[in-house]
Subunit: 196 residues, 4 copies
DNA sequence: TATGAATGAGCATTCATTCAT
DNA sequence: CATGAATGAATGCTCATTCAT
């Protein structure tokens, strides 16, 4: 009756879905939502444009899924680092180090979060990101406050410091689009923003 | 016939062109090139969409002009600050102060430079920006080197420091899109990146 | 400033809208909603397909407007005949005569009402028609009841007689699609359904 | 190998084919050709859409087969009634009674013949129906002429009477789509069209 | 100039059809 | 036989651009 088991189908579907998400990340992060064509994503994924719709019912769902995946990746990273052992400063060093490394390897993840802020994206998508962003900002702010309490981070409005740190990381990600070869500033330069 | 009226026409035209550019900046900076409609820009400028084509022959020219105006504004700012009297550090303080003030008043100027990096924009437009960007980076790098020589700026690759400074400024501009109400970090936090 | 007055624009728009409706009636009545292409309607109206969307925002609105126009035409006819002087039978003769004449001249009007019953049409469109249909059926039923009271119409459930009369008229309209040359049955044959 | 099993396979295939035809009739009659999706038919038949193509090579063949089956059903009915014993009028009563009963039980059969008239269907399919329709009309016309000769049917163009009778039956079938609950008019109301 | 009607290229989306399993 | 993943032609709709007025 059924030549392929339902499980097999699920596996194939899952795998493709992941591949599609990766392709979408590459295309969307470089072009933004409006300028990216479904055909571009399909080509990047090596499938026909029609097949994209077997996995995501519309361009916007695909974009939303792509955003969500990237954003959740960052949220997971921040949450896991926050739970690490060591001093608050150790954690901040670890986090920034991993963010910069991640940006070097897969700058798309960070770029996605930049594109979504523009009104190119639909309000629904922006809201998804906003929610996750709150988590990240919240976790990061706590880490910065911990550092301030430990005297390792300079005093000052922790919310503003949080924004400043996020800003420099996103700004560097953008710079990689323009000058992929340019050297990223060393970790301690980035950390000077926080250094007591 | 009447040289005065021709001149006046020119004035009117120039004024309109400037108004159009302002409208375009608002729309393009919020939506990016692809998602922005000529009709959006026309509506923002309070004219009919057909009239836009009297001033710019195509959407891309308008985008290019918008980019160019923003970029030249930054270039002019950096160049003028570089020529200011005082110590190198005074100049860097002045520059960052003005950049942050500008971002507060007209965040569109900085956002434009973010959008153009995406492949949403045509290569031609990107090249225009790249050229101006080289000027800005060059001027800024010189200022930073001056500061290093004066012992006011921390040692290290001046190119990397330049990128880091630009990154944080652009990152903060993006943040204003998401949280227009969020406090910008104080000037000295931004300057910590450079501080010896 | 404005080379054409707003009034002129309105006139042109109204005229085109009517022409478009006529073209849509021809195409939709022959093909149904799903099989009719916007390009077909545009071609029939002698305009580009893009222009259709200046007048109706989507295919379905155009279909709905087309349906509504036809249905309202029938409702107006029935209402006006109902108000005519003479005996109830005179009015029924007048109504059937005009319906058959209308079907000869513009069979599209009746065919539209047939297509909409299929699930090809969206529920919203069907509801519009259903409402108007209730009016028509109501008016017609009253006319039949009047005839029964005057002894001119055969006794029996007036609702069923109403449906039977509508049925034969619609059935004849369909037949004109298949055999446009076939003779329509004489008026008195149709009226036999009601004849006392 | 085993002739029995091949035969059984045929039986199974035939049975499925019939089930598919029934499902297709339901779907096509409600939506028309263009709006009906193969997936709809497959779902109605409880099979996968791919399997449909094992029985019919394309959507149009399935539609044609569906039409043909319905049309042939009517042709067979008319032919069998025409051969019945009794007076011409008896036969007409029998025919109309069975047509109305059939419409009550399986309105799809009649609705199919309505849809095919629209240009939604391909010319080939329309021709199939046209041919069968000629048979039905021919048989019916003969029955009406017999009735006229026997003085049981009113005089007048028998072709026009035939169309009128078909019209009312089809019109009533359409009405069942809109108001499935509405009472069908009694048989003798329909027959008034012919009554001498 | 200024307007908005008009055009058509371009892209999202659907769905008939094919085919590996 | 049966399934559903895969393809791509077809079609709705958008919007940059042109142009009559």
């Amino acid at each position: 009756m059924c030549p392929r088991s339902a499980e097999q189908f699920e596996q194939i579907k899952d795998e493709r879905r992941r591949a599609l998400l990766r392709a979408a990340r590459v295309v969307f992060s470089r072009k933004g939502f409006a300028a990216a064509k479904i055909a571009d994503v399909a080509a990047q994924a090596g499938i026909s444009h029609g097949l994209v719709y077997h996995y995501y019912p519309e361009k916007e769902s695909l974009f939303a899924a792509t955003i969500e995946a990237s954003a959740e990746g960052w949220a997971a990273l921040v949450a896991s680092v926050r739970a690490q052992a060591g001093t608050p400063w150790d954690r901040l060093v670890s986090l920034c180090g991993q963010m910069i490394a991640g940006m070097r390897e897969e700058p798309e993840h960070l770029l996605m979060t930049v594109h979504v802020y523009s009104e190119d994206a639909s309000p629904g998508v922006r809201d998804v990101l906003r929610r996750i962003r709150q988590q990240v900002l919240g976790d990061l702010e706590v880490m910065i406050q911990d550092g301030q309490r430990a005297g390792q981070v300079a005093p000052g409005d922790p919310a503003a410091l949080t924004r400043a740190l996020i800003a420099i990381v996103q700004g560097l990600a953008i710079n990689r689009l323009v000058e992929p070869e340019a050297a990223l500033p060393p970790l301690d330069v980035v950390l000077r923003i926080l250094r007591a």
